[in-house]
Symmetry: C2
Amino acid sequence: MAFRFEIIKKDSFSRARIGRVETDHGSFNTPVFLPVGTQGTVKSLTPEELVEIGVEAILANTYHLYLRPGHETIGRLGGLHTFIHWERPILTDSGGFQIFSLGSLRKISEEGVIFQSHLDGSSHFLTPEKVMEIQRSLGSDIAMVLDECVPYPSPYEYVKTSMERTSRWAKRCLEVRRENDPALFAIVQGGVHRDLREKSVQTLVEMGFQGYAMGGLSVGEPKSMMLDVLEWTTPFLPENSPRYLMGVGTPEDIIDAVMRGVDFFDCVLPTRNARNGILFTSSGKISIKQAQYVEDRRPVDETCACYTCRHYSRAYLRHLYLSKEILSSRLNTIHNLYYYMTLLGKIREAIQEGRLLDFYKSHNSHHGLETEFSNHFQSN
Amino acid sequence: MAFRFEIIKKDSFSRARIGRVETDHGSFNTPVFLPVGTQGTVKSLTPEELVEIGVEAILANTYHLYLRPGHETIGRLGGLHTFIHWERPILTDSGGFQIFSLGSLRKISEEGVIFQSHLDGSSHFLTPEKVMEIQRSLGSDIAMVLDECVPYPSPYEYVKTSMERTSRWAKRCLEVRRENDPALFAIVQGGVHRDLREKSVQTLVEMGFQGYAMGGLSVGEPKSMMLDVLEWTTPFLPENSPRYLMGVGTPEDIIDAVMRGVDFFDCVLPTRNARNGILFTSSGKISIKQAQYVEDRRPVDETCACYTCRHYSRAYLRHLYLSKEILSSRLNTIHNLYYYMTLLGKIREAIQEGRLLDFYKSHNSHHGLETEFSNHFQSN
C-alpha cells in the first residue's frame, strides 16, 4: 500500500513539526490524534459523525478483531474499511498491548505469545508473522509490529531481554512483509532506561521502518519519565519518518509530546471519559452528573461549536446520563472527540504560525497548570 | 394550544381514513405511528435522525419525566421540546399505564393514585388535576387524561367500577383544562366487555374531547378480542376526532386497526426489538445474532432504503450486536423505525389510492398470514 510522510514545517523553538501522511485511503495532517475503534467502531458513533467532527484517521484493535469476528471473515467481506463503512485511513495495532494486559492468561516465548481469549477462554498463538497476516487481511493502512509492552516498574534485566526480543520480532515482521502490505511501524521499547531506549531505537532504525512508535509508556510511570524517554529517543529517530506515542493521552500530554517531536497519538481517554460523563472544556474537565447542572441551560462549553454544544443543555446531558440513555454516550463522545480534534487543529495551526510556545503557555494557564517546559527543555 | 384534525379521505371498503393533524409544533399525517421517547429521547437516536427516518411526531412518558428530571425542571428549562431538541409535535401519555404496571407499589382511590417511584421508592400522589399540570409544564401538544389500565383478565364488576372512575377522572381533567393547554384526549376503557366499552364511549363523547384513545388493549387478551373491541367502539366515536390505539403494535396489528378506523398508534416494539437484535424486513422478522449471517454481505432488507441498509452488511450488524456495541442499537433502531414509517406511508398511500384491501392481502401473503379480514369485517 502507498505510504508517504512529508514534513510541512518544523517549529523553531521545540522539536514539534507539522506534516502530512498519504495513504491509499486518503491523507491526514500531523500531529494527529486517532480515535480508538476497538471492535471496528469508535464506540457510539457512525463514520459520518466522525467525519463531521473532523476525524481523519482511526485506530482499530487487531487483538479484538482477530478474536471476533476474525480477520479471515473480515478479509472475505472485503477488508476492514468496507466492513465498518470507513473510507479513510486505519491504523491497526498489533495486539501486543492487549495480550500483555491479559497477565496470567498469556505465556511468552522467543517464537511468540500464547494467550487465552478474554471472550471464551480459547487458546491462541500469536507470532510476528501472524500479526502481519492478520493486519494484511484487515487491509489496514498502517500496521504495527508485534511487541511486548513491559509494565512499570520492571527489573532492568527483564526490560532488556524483552526489548531485545521485541527487536527480533520486528525483524521477523519486516522479513515477511509483502509488496502490497500496510505501511509498517516498529515499536521502541526499553522502559524508562536511557541506554535501553537508545539501543532499541538504534536497532530498529538500522532495520528501517516507515514509522516508529514509542511503546511501553503511559503504563504507570511518572509523567516526567515519559517526557524524559521522549527527549532521549526522538533525536535518534529519522527526521522524515512519523513518530507515534501509543496510548497517550491527556490534552496536556499531547502538547508536551508534540513539543518533543511526536506526530501520532491514540487514546481511549476522550471516548471512555465521555461514556462516564466526564467532559473536556476550555476551562477544564466537568462531571456532567453533578447536581449543579440540573437546570443549567448552558452548553457543555460555550466556546465549542460541536453538535452537542449547539443543541443541548448541560441539564439535558445530565438527565440523559442519569437515565443511562444511549444518547448520553453519543452526545458526550461527539463533544469530547470534537474537543480533541479542535485541540490538534490548534496545535498544528500554532506550529504553522510559529507560536506553539505561546499556545502551550496559554493552554496551561487556562487549565491552572505550570509552564515549565521552556526551562526544562532548554536544559537538555 | 392549537389543534385541528382534518379527514382527507375515507376508505370505501373499511373504516380506514387518512387525515392530517395540525398543532403549534407543525402537522403530521394519519394514520400515524409515534415512536416512544420514554425518558425524553427515542432510545439511541437524535431528533435529526428521527426526521431523516420520516418521523413526524413522538410520544413521551409523563410518568418517567415527572420522576426524573421533574416536570417543573423541564418547565423552567423552556418545556420538553426545547429540553430534548425536538421541534415537532409531542404526545404525552398520562402515566396511567406505567403506574398501573407497578402492581403492589400503587394504591388507587377516587381521588387518584398513590405510587412508589421505581427509581428511589419515594411516594407520589397522582390525580387527574396533577397529570394536567404536569403535561402543561412539559408543554406537550397532545395530553392524555389519567386513566386506570385494567389487566386482562379482570372480573366484570372491577372493570365496570374502574371504567366509571376513569370517566369521572376524565371529567375532572376537562374541568381544570386551561385555554392554552395541550389538546386533550380521553381514554376509553371497559376491558373486553361490549356493554362497558359502549358505555365508556358514550360518557366520554358526551363530555367532548379533542380525541379518543382505546386503552386497556394489547394487555394479554387474544388479538381477536382487541379487534372486536375496536369494531364495537369506533362506530360510536365522533367521525371528525382522531382515534388512538395505545401501545399497539405489530405491523399486522396496525393494518388491522387502521381498517377498523384507528388513526394513532404508539409502541415500543420497533425500538425495543431493535436493541434486542430483532429486525423487521419485507419478508418477516430476523434475529441478527444468528450464525447464518456471519459472512452475509447483504443489507438487512434488500428492498429497504434506510441508512443502515444503504451502508452496512448483516455480517457487520451481527458483529456489533454480539460485541454489545452502542452502534448496534443505533443502526437497528434506525432500520426498524424506518420500516414502521414506510409501512404507515404505504398504508396512507393505499387509502389515498383506494387499494387498502389489496395492500392488506399482499402484506399478509408476504408474511405468511391468513387474510380473513374481509369476511370477518363484512359479517359485522
